[in-house]
């Protein structure tokens, strides 16, 4: 059984199994089918790299979506 890791998702603490891909994590969080873009530790992660990007313990993950803006 995999170890658990802790990450920050949009500022909230979330537990994950270690070794998960970003794609799996977004699915688990219900964000995979939405119009979102993602950064890990302040670096943009293109959608094409979701499946081969592994999430590490302590990662800060930002998932953004469109809002009105000036």
């Amino acid at each position: 059984m995999s170890d658990a890791i802790t990450v920050s998702l949009n500022g909230n603490t979330e537990a994950l199994e270690s070794g998960q891909s970003l794609q799996h994590a977004l699915q688990q969080w219900g964000l995979s089918d939405k119009k979102v873009a993602t950064a890990i530790n302040g670096d943009f992660v293109p959608r094409s790299r979701y499946s081969d990007t592994t999430i590490d313990d302590g990662d800060q993950i930002d998932v953004v979506t469109p809002v009105g803006g000036g």
Partner: protein, 264 residues
């Protein structure tokens, strides 16, 4: 080319009015205001998505339906690094290289950080972005932004959301005079159509605003008012304003006056 059209990075737009999509009482009122403004370009932003919230998707549906050209912003970013990352996220999510680049240096007046702005603009231009930097009215910062490849600039009229109009007309006139071939769009701080018209009469190429329309009691009507003012200001600029004088000069011919003053 039609002189009344706005050209940015080689693309032409019929309207010189760029409108923000924040702060409206409802998405429908926002859409009505966009329609009334007849703008071609709308700004929008990105914020953290929380699972099970549909707000972002809803506003996106409304904005998408307007068929306007999208100009995503990097609002809230306080460093070049943050702005670059958010721009990259915007490019993917909106499928556009256009970015309204904001790097804020002070929380109190939301003044752009010129150093971070130039640094971020240089990186993003190299990455193929079409950068529209939100900057101050400082000529030297403007020149630095052009040096790193920006093809248009968006100087503030006054701080975001203040409605104070053209705060430093000397600097703005200087920008216009010293950068005659650079598209300059007044971004932020305008509260009244008359202020937008004044900027257009000074020769600025466009107006970007949000709060003045969104916070009006009737946003669609205010959007229409700004559109009229922007058009009138541009027409006046293209027509050529008269030179102001300190003393009166009669407009009716003085030769052939009938009977008064003749015996003096």
């Amino acid at each position: 080319m039609n002189s009344s059209m706005l050209t940015l990075y080689g693309e032409t737009f019929n309207s010189r009015f760029l409108l923000g999509t924040a702060l409206y009482p409802s998405p429908q009122i926002m859409r009505d205001a966009i329609e009334a403004s007849e703008c071609n370009i709308v700004t929008l932003g990105l914020r953290r998505q929380n699972p099970n919230e549909r707000d972002g998707a809803a506003i996106w549906d409304y904005i998408k339906d307007t068929r306007c050209h999208l100009l995503p912003n990097t609002a809230g970013c306080k460093s070049a690094k943050e702005a670059i990352t958010l721009a990259e996220m915007s490019r993917e999510i909106f499928d556009t290289p256009w970015i309204k680049l904001e790097v804020i240096g002070d929380d109190y007046n939301l003044q752009p950080d010129p150093y971070g702005l130039v640094e971020a603009a240089a990186v993003l231009i190299k990455e193929g972005f079409k950068v529209l930097p939100y900057t101050t009215d400082d000529l030297i910062v403007a020149k630095k932004l052009l040096d790193v490849g920006c093809e248009a600039l968006m100087p503030w009229g006054s701080p975001i959301g203040t409605g104070q109009g053209l705060m430093n007309k000397y600097n703005l006139r200087t920008l216009r005079e010293r950068l005659p071939n650079t598209p300059l769009i007044i971004d932020a701080g305008l509260g009244k159509p008359s202020q937008a018209m004044e900027a257009m009469e000074m020769g600025f190429d466009g107006i970007l605003l949000n709060t003045a329309v969104a916070k009006a009691q009737k946003p669609a009507l205010m959007a229409q008012a700004f559109a009229g003012a922007i058009n009138a200001g541009r027409q006046a600029y293209e027509a050529g304003l008269m030179v102001t004088r300190d003393t009166a000069s009669p407009s009716t011919p003085t030769i052939g006056q009938p009977f008064w003053h003749q015996n003096k």
